[in-house]
C-alpha cells in the first residue's frame, strides 16, 4: 500500500464523516444508512463465510439477536452503546454455544444446519415477541437520521478494520490454511476448530452489532423481522457478487446491490425486481469471480505491463 492509496482512503473517510453536513435530504441520508447497514452485515458474514470458507446460512440469527437485545435494553432506558455491545456479546455467546456441534458438520450440512437454527429463532421470536416494537412517539419528535448515519458508519468501519487486521495477522494465515486444506492444516498443528470458532465469534459479534445499530435506527417493526432469512441471503449475495473472502468485496457488493435495487424501485415500481433479477444474473455471468475478481485481473495485467 503506497502513499497514494493512503491519501485516497483518508479523503474517502473524511468525505464519509462530513457527508451529513452537506447532505440534508432524508432520502439520500437514509439511502446512505441503508448502504452502511448492508456493508456491515455483509462484511461480518464474510469473516466466517469468506475468510474461513464456512457458508453460514444462519447469519440472520446473530443480526436478530443483536437487534432484539439492543432494542429491549435501549427501550428499558439503557445507554444505546452499552445495549449494542451487550446485544453483540449475546450473539457471540450464541455462536460459541452452537459452534462446537455446528463445526462437526462440513460444507452444505453446516450451511443448512445454521439455516435451521435461524429458522427456529425466527419462529420462536415470532411466537414470543409478537407485538410491534416501535420508537415511542415522543422520541420520534427528536428522531434524526444523522446520529443513525454515524452509528452505522462507526459499525461499518469497525467491522471492516477488524476484518482487515485479522486477515493481515497470524490469524489470517491460519484461517486461510484451514479454508484451503483443513486436514493438511490440522496435521501441521493448526487447530481448525479454534480458528473457525474465532471467525464465528467475530462474525457473530459484528452481525450482532449491526443488528444493534438497526434497532437504534428502525422506527417500527415486528421483532421477528430481523431474524428473516433475507438478511442472511442478501449479505451472502453481496459478499459473493463483490468478491468473497476479500475486504473490499462485500463493501462493493453491498453498494452495488442496495443502490441498484433502490434506483430501480424508484423508477420501475412493481417491475423493478424483474429488472433487478436480470441485471443480477448478467453480472454473475460476466463476472464469475465477483467485482474483485475483475479488479484482480486488471491489476495483474497492469503489473505485468509495468514490469
Amino acid at each position: 500500500m503506497n502513499k497514494i492509496q493512503i491519501t485516497i482512503i483518508v479523503i474517502l473517510l473524511a468525505a464519509l464523516l462530513a457527508f451529513p453536513q452537506f447532505i440534508t435530504s432524508e432520502s439520500v441520508l437514509n439511502l446512505a444508512v441503508y448502504v452502511l447497514l448492508y456493508v456491515s452485515i455483509a462484511s461480518s458474514w464474510n469473516v466466517l463465510g469468506g475468510f474461513a470458507g464456512q457458508t453460514n446460512l444462519g447469519h440472520a440469527a446473530f443480526f436478530g439477536v443483536g437487534a432484539l437485545v439492543t432494542r429491549m435494553l435501549w427501550f428499558a432506558g439503557w445507554n444505546i452503546f452499552a445495549s449494542m455491545v451487550i446485544g453483540a456479546l449475546v450473539a457471540v455467546v450464541l455462536a460459541l454455544i452452537i459452534g462446537v456441534p455446528a463445526f462437526r458438520l462440513r460444507g452444505v450440512y453446516f450451511a443448512i444446519g445454521t439455516l435451521a437454527l435461524s429458522q427456529i429463532l425466527l419462529i420462536t421470536v415470532g411466537n414470543t415477541f409478537s407485538t410491534i416494537s416501535s420508537i415511542p412517539t415522543e422520541d420520534l419528535k427528536v428522531y434524526s437520521l444523522v446520529p443513525r448515519y454515524y452509528m452505522f458508519l462507526g459499525v461499518a468501519l469497525l467491522t471492516i478494520v477488524t476484518a482487515y487486521v485479522l486477515l493481515n495477522s497470524r490469524f489470517g494465515l491460519g484461517i486461510t490454511a484451514v479454508r484451503e486444506e483443513e486436514d493438511a492444516a490440522e496435521s501441521l498443528g493448526v487447530s481448525a476448530l479454534k480458528y473457525k470458532m474465532l471467525a464465528f465469534g467475530i462474525s457473530a459479534f459484528f452481525g450482532g452489532l449491526t443488528g444493534g445499530a438497526f434497532a437504534f435506527y428502525h422506527v417500527g417493526y415486528y421483532p421477528q423481522l430481523t431474524f428473516g432469512p433475507e438478511w442472511t441471503f442478501d449479505s451472502m449475495m453481496m459478499a459473493y457478487i463483490g468478491g468473497v473472502g476479500t475486504i473490499v468485496g462485500p463493501v462493493i457488493g453491498a453498494v452495488f446491490f442496495v443502490v441498484l435495487r433502490e434506483f430501480l424501485a424508484l423508477r420501475f415500481a412493481e417491475f423493478h425486481l424483474i429488472i433487478f433479477g436480470v441485471l443480477f444474473i448478467l453480472v454473475v455471468l460476466f463476472l464469475p469471480d465477483g467485482f474483485m475478481g475483475i479488479w484482480e485481473k486488471i491489476r495483474k495485467r497492469l503489473l505485468r505491463r509495468s514490469k
Binding site: L13, L29, S134, Y164, A265
Partner: protein
C-alpha cells in the same frame, strides 16, 4: 503490504470509527448542523402565508404556474400577488405491490389512483390560499413487502416529492414501519388494510385510518349474530376461536373472548397457531369434539384455504363462521367452490354498498379489471376523498393544517360518512359480508343488506 502501512490504516480507520461513534452519541437530539439555516428559502412544501413578494426568490421547482392544467374558476386579481401556486398537490404511497402482501397492495393502489383521477378530472382541489384548483399528483413506490425498504421509500417521498400527505400501504407489518416515519416527518397519513388497534394507541398524531378495527369488529360479531338470528334458541352459542399467533391475532382473540361472554356465547375452544400453518387437523378435531357451532378465525393465506380444506375432510361444519382476511381474497370462491360459501368476513367495505361514487368506481374498475371494485379498493378510494376534502377545508397546503382538518373532518365517501376518533381510528361502517353462491353479499347492518344471511351452514358434503 508492509506492517507500517497496515498500522496506519488501522489507526485512521479506528479514529474515524471513534469519531463517528462519538458523533452518534453526542446527538440524541437533532444535530444543530443538520438543517443549515440558509438565507434562501428551503424548497419546502408549505408556502408561507405571508404576502411578502417572495415570488422572485421562490424555488423554481414549485413555480410552474403556467403548466397547471386547472381551469381557474375564479381568476385571482393580478394585483394581490400571492405566491405562485404549485403545479400539483403531491401525495405519495409506499405500497407492497410485490412480495407476500402483494395481493393486498394490488387492491389498494387502484383505489388511490381512481380517486386521484376522478378529482383531477374535475380540475383538482380548490385551495383557497392560491385561489385556484390544483390537481393531485400521486407517486406510488413498491416496497416489495419489506418494512425496511418501505421506510426508505417514505423518506424519498418526503424529501424528493415533498408530499403534503402520505397514503398507506397494506397490512400491519408494513404500516407499523411507515406510520412512525409520517409522524417523524409530521406528514398526515391515511391508511387502510389493517385492523390492528394497538398501532392507534401509541399516541400518533398524524395517523388516520377509515377502516374498522378489532374492538369494533369483535363487538359487531355478536351484535350482528344476535340481530340476524332473532330466535335465541337457534343461535350458534358455542364458539371456537382459531387465533393466529401475531399481535393482531392476540388482540382480536382477547376481545372476541371478552365480547362473547358479554353477549351470552361460550368459548369452548380457543387455540393459537403460528403464521403460515397448513395443517389444522388437531384444532379442527378438538372443535368438532367440543361441539363448537361458531368458528371465529383470522388466517392469512395460505392458511385460510388449508383451514377450509381440513374442515371439509375432517367433516366439521360450524353453523356460522367468521373468517377475517383469507376469504377477502378475490379468488376465494373460485378456488374453493361451494366449500367457500357461507363464510362471513369483516372487510370494511363492499362494492355493492349504496354510497355516492361507488357506481363510478365500479365502472372504472370494470373497465380495467373486468369486475366490480375489490374490497380494499373502496376504503383506499375513501382515503383520498377525505384528504381532498380536508385540503379544501384547510385552504392551504400546510401539513399541520391539513392534519387538523382531517381530524375534524366529516366526509361523505364511497365507504359512507367518515369521521375520526381522537386516536385516528375512523368512525366507519363495519359491514358483515357473506360468500353466497360465489358472490359477496352484505348481510349486516340490515339497512345496507343486499341479501339475507344464509344460516345455518349445511354440512360440507350436503352442498
Amino acid at each position: 503490504m508492509n506492517k507500517r502501512n497496515l498500522n496506519w490504516i488501522v489507526r485512521i480507520g479506528l479514529l474515524v470509527a471513534l469519531v463517528a461513534v462519538v458523533a452518534a452519541c453526542a446527538s440524541p437530539t437533532p444535530e444543530p448542523t443538520k438543517v443549515p439555516p440558509t438565507a434562501a428559502p428551503a424548497p419546502t412544501k408549505a408556502p408561507e402565508p405571508t404576502k411578502a413578494p417572495v415570488a422572485t426568490t421562490a424555488p423554481t421547482k414549485a413555480a410552474e404556474p403556467t403548466k397547471a392544467p386547472a381551469a381557474t374558476s375564479a381568476p385571482a386579481p393580478t394585483t394581490a400577488a400571492a405566491k405562485p401556486a404549485p403545479a400539483y398537490i403531491e401525495v405519495g404511497a409506499s405500497i407492497p405491490l410485490t412480495g407476500k402482501f402483494g395481493s393486498l397492495g394490488q387492491q389498494v393502489k387502484p383505489g388511490y389512483q381512481y380517486a386521484v383521477n376522478d378529482i383531477n378530472a374535475a380540475g383538482g382541489i380548490y385551495v383557497k390560499e392560491f385561489d385556484k384548483k390544483i390537481p393531485l399528483r400521486l407517486t406510488v413506490y413498491d416496497d416489495a413487502s419489506d418494512p425496511t425498504q418501505a421506510v426508505s421509500k417514505m423518506e424519498t417521498l418526503f424529501a424528493d416529492q415533498k408530499v403534503v400527505a402520505y397514503l398507506g400501504g397494506a397490512s400491519s407489518d408494513m404500516h407499523v414501519a411507515t406510520i412512525p416515519i409520517a409522524e417523524k416527518n409530521k406528514v398526515p397519513y391515511l391508511g387502510v388494510s389493517f385492523a390492528l388497534n394497538a398501532i392507534h394507541q401509541k399516541g400518533y398524531k398524524y395517523l388516520f385510518s377509515p377502516f374498522p378495527k378489532s374492538p369494533q369488529q369483535t363487538v359487531d360479531t355478536f351484535a350482528a349474530l344476535n340481530q340476524l338470528i332473532p330466535d335465541a334458541s337457534q343461535r350458534p352459542l358455542k364458539v371456537a376461536i382459531f387465533a393466529e399467533k401475531s399481535d393482531w391475532g392476540a388482540e382480536e382473540e382477547a376481545l372476541w373472548k371478552e365480547n362473547a361472554t358479554k353477549a351470552g356465547y361460550t368459548v369452548v375452544v380457543d387455540e393459537q397457531y403460528a403464521v403460515g400453518n397448513l395443517d389444522f387437523t388437531a384444532m379442527i378435531l378438538k372443535a368438532k369434539a367440543a361441539g363448537a357451532e361458531t368458528l371465529l378465525a383470522l388466517p392469512n393465506q395460505p392458511s385460510g384455504e388449508a383451514l377450509i380444506k381440513g374442515m371439509v375432510e375432517n367433516g366439521w361444519t360450524p353453523k356460522f363462521s367468521l373468517i377475517i382476511r383469507a376469504p377477502e381474497n378475490v379468488t376465494w370462491s373460485t378456488n374453493l367452490k361451494k366449500n367457500g360459501d357461507y363464510v362471513t368476513i369483516f372487510p370494511g367495505w363492499n362494492s355493492a354498498m349504496k354510497f355516492p361514487g361507488v357506481d363510478q368506481l365500479n365502472k372504472a374498475y370494470q373497465a380495467e379489471f373486468k369486475r366490480d371494485a375489490d374490497l380494499l379498493t373502496g376504503p383506499s378510494y375513501a382515503c383520498v376523498q377525505i384528504l381532498a376534502k380536508a385540503i379544501e377545508t384547510a385552504g392551504t397546503l400546510d401539513r399541520d393544517k391539513i392534519r387538523d382538518a382531517i381530524a375534524a373532518s366529516n366526509t361523505s365517501t364511497v365507504v359512507g360518512n367518515v369521521t375520526f376518533n381522537a386516536d385516528g381510528t375512523g368512525k366507519v361502517l363495519d359491514p358483515l359480508i357473506q360468500w353466497q353462491n360465489g358472490k359477496l353479499e352484505v348481510i349486516w347492518p340490515l339497512d345496507h343488506a343486499t341479501a339475507k344471511i344464509m344460516y345455518p351452514a349445511p354440512a360440507f358434503d350436503k352442498r
